[in-house]
Every structure is written in structure tokens, then in C-alpha cells.
């Protein structure tokens, strides 16, 4: 971070701030549009020209959590009057809530899938980041026979198009009983993310001067202690960045989640666009599902922001 001194640099800095703000606004515009759609009444989601000013509603979120079906005509006045507020919102959108054989309101798949997504993404991120960090350290600090080839092998595991991996993976999972289980997806996503995790962490650990640990070893630390107490804290930025990326990948994975799961371990990404199947897709519900689904990753990233920004903190003493 260059300190600002001269007036021309000050002006330059102001220009940079303005540019960053403009870029941020451009990047956020589509997100804003999605968020706005999540609060629109159904008939304002796709209008020509687009609707910009509107009265926000929470009906898309009510619909997101309930199983609904299209109505051909509005409900009778009595039915409408007797309905609770949230059910009226569904009626207002031209739909009704589906009830099961016992008359209970049926929930949509969203809440349970959301929970599955959380379990699977969090666990696989922890696995991928911890294994990746250890492996990266191993490669970075020790002499490994055929290091370049091994690293390239690790990288190559991400090169085969997923479309082709899907069928053999599906057969393999079926054979060992991992299909439609949480562990199945967790292991799969860990495998996806490992190559990235190893490579990125190696990039960061390579930059941490060996002298740090050597000094610690001289002070009587074991290698393990030196790793955990000296290297890991120094690699915090790398760990944070890797964790953010791994979490995002696992959180949003679509193709395998679709193919490998049926009922128990389904995650949310394949559910969100499913509203498109209805004769008039309810874009507000798709947007609501998207916005809620964005929250955990956004919060996770925001909490790690200071680590992300600290950069490679050892920079000052770099050779």
C-alpha cells in the first residue's frame, strides 16, 4: 500500500477511488437486478420495458419455501378470506399451496436442500483446504522425487471434462453405495478442489521464507510445531483465499449434484432454476432462491475479508 504524499499522487488516488467505485457499481448492477427481482410482484419481473420502481414484496420468499401449483381461476372469495396472509400471497400470484394426503402444507425442496448444501460445502471445504495445505507444505519444503510430475498429475485431475467423468463416477458410486449420500458429494467436491487447493497453497507457502522455520527449529521446535505455529499463521491469506474459492465451487456445483443424488443428499443449485418449468416461470422465486443462496458465501467471504486483504504479509523481508 503506497503512502500518499505529493499532490499529484493524491489526485491519482482519488481517481483510483472513483474508478473502483464505478467498477464496483458495474459489477453489482446484475446482482442488484437479481435482488430487486426477488422482491417484485410476479407480474413485474419481466416487463417490456423493464420495471425499475416498484413496491417490494416478500411473497417470492413465501413461494420459495412452499410447494405450489398453478390455478386456472382465482380462488373463491371465502377461501381467499379464510387463508392466512402467506397463503394469500400465493393466491395473488395465481397459484395455490399443495397439501399432502393429511391436509398438511407441503414444503418445497428448498429448505432441506439448503441444509444439505451447507453440510456438504462446509465439510468438503475443510477437507480440501487442510489436505491441500499439508500437501503444499510437503512439496514446498521437502525434496520429493518426481515433484514436477506429481504436481502436474494433481493439476490434471481437474482437466477431464466433467460430462465424461459423470458416467463412470456414477457407476463407481453406485457400486460402493456412495450415491445419494452426503459423503458421496463431500468426497467428490474435495477431489475437485484438491488440485486447486494444493497449487494455490504451494504458491503461497513457497513465498514464506524458509529461514523462519529454520530459526524455530534451532530454538527447539519440532518440524510439526514449526509448521503449525510459524507457517500456518503466515499462510493465513492463502488459506482464506483457498477456502473462499473451494467453498464457492462446492456450494454451487450443479452437474454432479444433479446426477449423483435423488432424495437424501440433494443440494440446492439444481432446485433453484427448476421454476423455469412452469408455463410462466416465476422469476421472482428463482431470484429469491438465488439471493438466499448467495448469503452464506457472501457472509463467509466478508468474515474472511481482512485475511484476504492482508496479502502475503512477509513481503517486507522478501529477498
Amino acid at each position: 500500500m503506497a503512502a500518499v504524499r505529493t499532490p499529484s499522487e493524491k489526485a491519482l488516488n482519488r481517481l483510483a477511488i472513483a474508478a473502483v467505485i464505478v467498477i464496483t457499481l458495474i459489477f453489482l448492477a446484475p446482482i442488484y437486478w437479481i435482488t430487486a427481482t426477488a422482491f417484485k410482484p410476479r407480474n413485474l419481473a419481466t416487463t417490456a420495458p423493464p420495471t425499475i420502481v416498484f413496491q417490494p414484496e416478500i411473497s417470492p420468499f413465501v413461494k420459495l419455501f412452499t410447494k405450489r401449483s398453478q390455478l386456472r381461476e382465482p380462488p373463491s372469495a371465502e377461501v381467499y378470506a379464510a387463508a392466512p396472509w402467506w397463503e394469500r400471497m400465493v393466491f395473488d400470484g395465481g397459484e395455490k399451496v399443495v397439501r399432502d394426503g393429511k391436509g398438511q402444507v407441503q414444503l418445497s425442496g428448498y429448505p432441506s436442500r439448503f441444509m444439505n448444501s451447507l453440510i456438504i460445502a462446509i465439510t468438503s471445504t475443510i477437507l480440501a483446504v487442510s489436505m491441500g495445505t499439508l500437501t503444499a507444505y510437503g512439496f514446498s519444503r521437502f525434496r520429493v522425487k518426481g515433484e514436477a510430475d506429481l504436481l502436474f498429475f494433481i493439476l490434471s485431475t481437474r482437466m477431464l471434462p466433467p460430462v465424461v467423468v459423470a458416467i463412470p463416477m456414477f457407476l463407481m458410486y453406485r457400486a460402493v453405495g456412495l450415491n445419494d449420500t452426503h459423503w458421496g458429494l463431500i468426497l467428490l467436491y474435495t477431489a475437485f478442489n484438491l488440485s486447486f487447493s494444493v497449487w494455490l497453497m504451494k504458491g503461497f507457502i513457497d513465498e514464506i521464507p524458509k529461514e523462519y522455520e529454520e530459526a524455530a527449529l534451532v530454538d527447539g521446535y519440532t518440524r510439526m510445531e514449526a509448521f503449525f505455529k510459524i507457517v500456518l499463521p503466515e499462510a493465513a491469506t492463502g488459506i482464506a483465499a483457498t477456502a473462499v474459492f473451494c467453498f464457492i465451487t462446492a456450494w454451487n456445483e450443479y452437474a454432479f449434484a444433479l446426477i449423483m443424488t435423488n432424495r437424501r443428499a440433494q443440494t440446492a443449485p439444481p432446485f433453484i432454476p427448476s421454476q423455469v418449468g412452469s408455463g410462466l416461470p416465476d422469476w421472482t422465486v428463482i431470484a429469491a432462491g438465488t439471493v438466499l443462496f448467495l448469503l452464506p458465501v457472501a457472509i463467509f467471504t466478508f468474515l474472511l475479508r481482512n485475511h484476504l486483504l492482508r496479502g502475503m504479509s512477509f513481503g517486507a523481508i522478501r529477498k
Binding site: 491441500g132 500437501t135 513457497d206 443449485p269
Partner: protein, 302 residues
């Protein structure tokens, strides 16, 4: 799994035991589980695909797979449609990755200053890549729509056709991809940039070095290793692009190789043939990545 077991054991009692652990033991403990794990997860799909790529197998039928030798490869490599798909993919990768590097690295350069609310701004800038590809495809199709879309409305483009125009469609898909993944390049570049020691800039200032000299001689070489990693991963992903292109347009001019592969594998169920095509793709990506990695190593040695 093993890795967590190690951590648990390290946390409490066994510190004394680990004191004696040799470097070689540690190295093996750290590396071997990952390698084994990746072998288990990749070797079966790799062998399966390779094996079937020499047959006329169709997963959708009960007919036995017949060995056809190199026929699948020969037919694919002689199919002009496939080469068109590859050409489209190449163009797409170049446009999209270049765009991401320019936008992402440029934004990182700007952010690497005294900017208020830097943490918040960075988090906000990262939002696009946190969305799922399928959702991005769906919403960008709406954004680009000449009638309902906000893009034409905001830019006053009337009924300009982004996705229905065969010449424009690929760029429209690339713009979406750049929007989504520039933040990835930005974040990694930012981590690299903030590591550039201040005293190097000060020295350059004393030498009255111009901004170009400072950038090309100090900033870029020091950021290059981490930027290269970002480029390697973005290239690999761009080569495999599927969802965004598939959802956004129907144009033959945007049929990247993954779409062709998807149709072959999951609509036509020509399993053998699609395995062969996957191997052709794999070899290409391997070759490209290899060049990158060589370059990365060279950059690091400097």
C-alpha cells in the same frame, strides 16, 4: 480423512510422539494421502473412459460394446463440425481469459492503494463468482433480452440483439464469463500485489523510474507466479465452459466443445465416441497447461 486424523492427534496428547518424527515421515504423511485420494477418484473414470473410447459402447442400451480400434478417434478428428467446435472454444478461451485478466488485474491494481472500505468493496466485487453458473445463465439471458432486458434499456441500445446475432453471441457469452470470473483473478492478483515490498517502489522512485518501468520491472515479475496460477485455472475452466453458453444461446457459433460433448454423451448416449472426444479434449488441455506450467516455473526462477 487421514489429514484430519493427523490434526486431531497433534492437537492434544501426542506432541511428544511427534517430536521424533523425521522430515521424511512428515513429508509422506502430508503428501501421500492426497495423492492416493486423487488416484482413487480419478483413475477409475480415466481408465473407464479410455477403455470405452475404443469401442462403440452406448450406455443407454444393453448391447455389448464392440472393439472398434481407433475408429472413434479417426472419425472425430476428420469431422469438420468438431474442428469448428474447437475453433469456437479457442476463440472463447482467448477472449474470455484475456478479458478476465485485464479487468481482474486492473481492478486489483486500483484496489492496491489507500482505498476506504476496502474490505467491503472487495467482498462486493467478489459477489458475481459466488453465484451458480446455471443461475447466472438464466439471469443474463433476461438481462440481454431486447424487450425485457435492463442492459439495452440502460445503455439505450433499443432492440439490439446480443444473443440472437450469430456474430455477437460468443462475445455476449464471454462478457458474462468475464463479469463472473474477473473477481477470481482480482483476488489472487491482489494477494500478490500487496506482497510487493514497498522499498522496491521507493528505490525505483529514487532512481526516477517511470511508471512503465516500475510496472514491468517490479510489479509484474513479482505478481507473475500467482497471476499465472489464476490464468492456468481460468483457462482450464474456460475450456470446459458449458452451462453459461448452453443456457444463454442456441447459436451454432457458440457451440463450444463441451456442449458438443454433452450432447454426444447425454443426449445421443454415444458413450464410446464421447469418451474418445473427452480424451482429445484432455490431451489438448494437458498440452496447453503444460506450456503454462513451464512458463510459470521459468517466471519463478527469475
Amino acid at each position: 480423512m487421514l489429514a484430519t486424523a493427523i490434526m486431531t492427534s497433534l492437537n492434544s496428547q501426542s506432541r511428544a510422539a511427534s517430536r521424533g518424527m523425521s522430515d521424511i515421515k512428515i513429508r509422506n504423511l502430508f503428501i501421500i494421502p492426497t495423492i492416493l485420494f486423487l488416484i482413487v477418484f480419478n483413475i477409475f473414470p480415466l481408465i473407464y473412459s479410455l477403455g470405452y473410447s475404443f469401442t462403440d459402447f452406448r450406455a443407454s442400451t444393453n448391447a455389448p460394446a464392440n472393439f472398434v480400434g481407433l475408429q472413434n478417434y479417426r472419425e472425430l478428428l476428420n469431422d469438420p463440425f468438431i474442428w469448428t467446435n474447437f475453433a469456437i472454444t479457442a476463440k472463447y478461451v482467448i477472449v474470455s481469459v484475456t478479458g478476465q485478466v485485464l479487468v481482474g488485474f486492473g481492478t486489483a491494481m486500483l484496489l492496491n492503494r489507500d482505498i476506504p472500505f476496502k474490505g467491503l468493496l472487495t467482498t462486493l466485487l467478489l459477489l458475481p463468482m459466488m453465484l451458480s453458473m446455471a443461475v447466472v445463465g438464466l439471469f443474463w439471458k433476461l438481462l440481454y433480452d431486447p424487450s425485457f432486458g435492463i442492459i439495452n434499456y440502460a445503455l439505450g441500445l433499443g432492440s439490439f440483439e446480443w444473443l440472437s446475432n450469430p456474430q455477437m453471441a460468443l462475445y455476449a457469452v464471454a462478457i458474462t464469463d468475464i463479469w463472473m470470473w474477473s473477481p477470481f483473478v482480482m483476488l489472487l492478483s491482489l494477494a500478490g500485489l500487496s506482497a510487493v515490498p514497498k522499498h522496491l517502489y521507493e528505490a525505483a522512485a529514487i532512481d526516477r523510474a517511470g511508471p512503465f518501468y516500475t510496472f514491468f520491472r517490479i510489479t509484474l515479475p513479482l505478481v507473475a507466479p500467482i497471476l499465472m496460477i489464476a490464468i492456468i485455472f481460468r483457462t482450464m475452466e474456460a475450456f470446459k465452459t458449458f452451462d453459461i453458453a448452453y443456457i444463454l444461446t442456441s447459436q451454432p457459433t457458440t457451440e463450444v466443445i463441451s456442449i458438443r460433448l454433452y450432447k454426444m454423451a447425454f443426449q445421443e448416449w454415444q458413450t464410446g465416441r464421447s469418451c474418445a472426444l473427452a480424451y482429445i479434449v484432455l490431451v489438448m488441455v494437458l498440452a496447453i497447461t503444460n506450456i503454462y506450467v513451464k512458463y510459470l516455473n521459468k517466471v519463478k526462477e527469475r
